[in-house]
Symmetry: C2
Subunit: 385 residues, 2 copies
């Protein structure tokens, strides 16, 4: 078991009718900018419920944050924050809206070129506006962590940053809000959360039993409840179990004493940045290919995963590892996620471009053993054709 620091002060308000409580979480008389996305929160009435709850605050709105939020869009929100003297940000949306709000919070208090926030991985951030969240999709876990992913549309650079200053003060998780999600978004969310767990779990054994077993607990829950939510979108317990799993998947608990991979995310992010595929779509393509490429290094944990999550009967480690990869691909496909680049009309021609971006971003020597070079990424992408 490795040393670790765990610190997650985000307050989670979970269940039915939680939005009404946000008034107690935001100090009176704050000038609040509500940040949201494409308008589904208007249609579903969630935005109105939020505004109704903010009885004692001065409320402004900024809509139109796109999936994989654009730096250019977010900088327009920063202008409003400054001109309207906003002192609290309330993200109402999914991972993209929350990630975007984290960037706005840091950029509004940063002197200088705000792209440095992202380029420095967040190390230049020394202050940020306070943030609250009302989550509308179970997926990224952004509602309970300090990470944000932002895309510069101009250069197609999709990059993450992290800072304790952008940790939300609170996050409202109402499973019922997710009843009306389009099926593909539900599926994307489940697969995204599933892969967040795998990135922290399928590495090599260090005898850290709690993160291992917690990872297995969350994976089993998502594999059971994910399909239910597709068939019965208003199954409250399925939605609640998925939502809390997705949050727990990336709130630091699974990183308590274990190594982590994250190479699938690094490679997948470049594909989204360049070709616009959904985040979860890229992960479902890259992960199985990466596992095939790194099987020797990961076989002990792949076998453990096969046994403990999928109840694969005991066999040789290598056989178990193969079965783990196979059954994971089947699960993604059963959720409606494709697992090959060709499924999206992409072929070998993309490989040099993805590799070039990885090199430009310094994302080489990645993975839990820092062994995945730019050349390995090219090999992995070949396995993903």
């Amino acid at each position: 078991m490795e040393n670790f620091t765990f610190h997650n002060p985000v307050k989670v308000l979970f269940g039915k009718n939680q939005i009404a409580q946000i008034n107690q979480e935001i100090p009176k008389d704050k000038r609040v900018l509500i940040v949201y996305g494409g308008g589904s929160v208007v249609k579903t009435g969630v935005l109105q419920r939020v505004k109704d709850a903010l009885e004692n605050e001065v409320v402004f709105e900024f809509g139109g944050v796109e999936a994989n939020p654009h730096y250019e869009t977010l900088m327009r929100a920063v202008e409003i924050v400054k001109s309207e003297k906003i002192d609290f940000l309330l993200a109402v949306g999914g991972g993209s809206v929350i990630d975007g709000t984290k960037f706005i919070a840091a950029a509004a208090m940063y002197e200088g070129d705000t792209w440095e926030i992202v380029k420095s991985y967040g190390s230049v951030v020394k202050a940020a506006l306070p943030i609250g969240c009302v989550l509308t999709i179970a997926a990224t876990g952004s509602e309970m962590n300090n990470v944000s992913v932002v895309t510069k549309a101009e250069t197609k650079d999709k990059l993450f940053f992290g800072s304790p200053f952008v940790l939300p003060k609170f996050s409202v998780l109402e499973p019922e809000i997710t009843f009306t999600l389009p099926q593909n978004q539900t599926a994307n969310g489940v697969v995204d959360a599933f892969i967040h767990i795998l990135e922290q779990y399928v590495t090599y054994p260090v005898n850290a039993k709690i993160p291992d077993r917690f990872a297995e607990a969350l994976l089993k829950t998502l594999k059971e409840e994910g399909p239910k939510a597709l068939v019965t979108p208003d199954d409250y317990d399925a939605r609640a179990n998925i939502m809390w799993s997705a949050t727990m998947a990336l709130n630091g608990i699974l990183a308590t004493g274990t190594p982590a991979d994250w190479a699938t995310h690094m490679i997948g992010q470049e594909i989204t940045g360049l070709y616009g595929l959904d985040h979860a779509q890229t992960l479902a393509i890259v992960l199985p290919a990466l596992w095939k490429f790194c099987k020797a290094d990961k076989s002990a944990k792949l076998a453990q995963y096969a046994a403990n999550v999928w109840d694969i009967p005991s066999a040789e480690e290598d056989v178990m590892a193969d079965k783990a990869i196979e059954i994971t691909v089947d699960f993604f496909e059963s959720m409606g996620l494709k697992t090959h680049l060709a499924d999206y009309g992409l072929g070998e021609e993309i490989i040099p471009h993805v590799v070039e971006k990885l090199r430009a971003h310094g994302h080489v020597n990645i993975g839990e053993k820092q062994k995945i070079t730019a050349e390995s990424a090219a090999e992995i992408l070949k396995l993903a054709l």
Copy 2:
């Protein structure tokens, strides 16, 4: 799945050589009172390591906090806090020292009769001195929660209070510190943590899959690693897995969306208060008796526990429940904890006294269904003879 609020801002520094970091966690020039227990931290050198780390602070010491810390002792520390203008408390010890430090932190800033802090269950607490912890035994989980148990020696009242103001700012968890614990303290700690989990897990099903599976993860880890630590006290991974399990057992994660019992604790506390048994000893006596008494209400979860934690082959629910009770008793006994009042020379004569204390403290209609009356407590104690 039930609604819940989760909020735990305690920073955990876990692993080897973590004490050196506390200097960065306590603001410079603070006047720090180190609170400790019976002197084992002097012998083991832990106290010296802590003092060496506090380079930029003014350090005072208060030793002699007993197991089940006495109000009377803690009030002497409050005097020192006031006379020396202490503005940071550093608990170096186990659950009793940390609980005591929480009381000192609240009492030092409370005007009026400080026993009201306990009598009000903490509701009168509106401020407290900041607290840090260096944990020396894996057991109570006090290092990552807002609860404290204090005993008034004069009246033999052992009572808990809770307040967000007494949450530690940070807790240092070094598994190596626990290598030198006496075997009975290691065993007490494992059983205490085990029962903290059971109090939140063995109630009735509400389809909250994450706290259920997390509980099972922690229980399995403790049942595997507990015996190892008794045989090989310096097994680092065993100690580390136990330590993180005990902290996770009572940091709020297991209460996310589930009912909780806590009647075993309520009854056990009166026995410690009146007769001085160790906390874990009383729990190991009361829990199996309470389960027998409440079997009909708890059988679904007892059967789930038997299957998922102890791999008991599937059978009728009632049979599974009986086996769950039996195997739990065997586990406690194998760890060296006795499970009957008679093992400590106590008999039927204690029952009216325990029941009287429960009544006096308003601890009637307890348990997850508020069904355990004073009369039921008497029946439970009969089953524990």
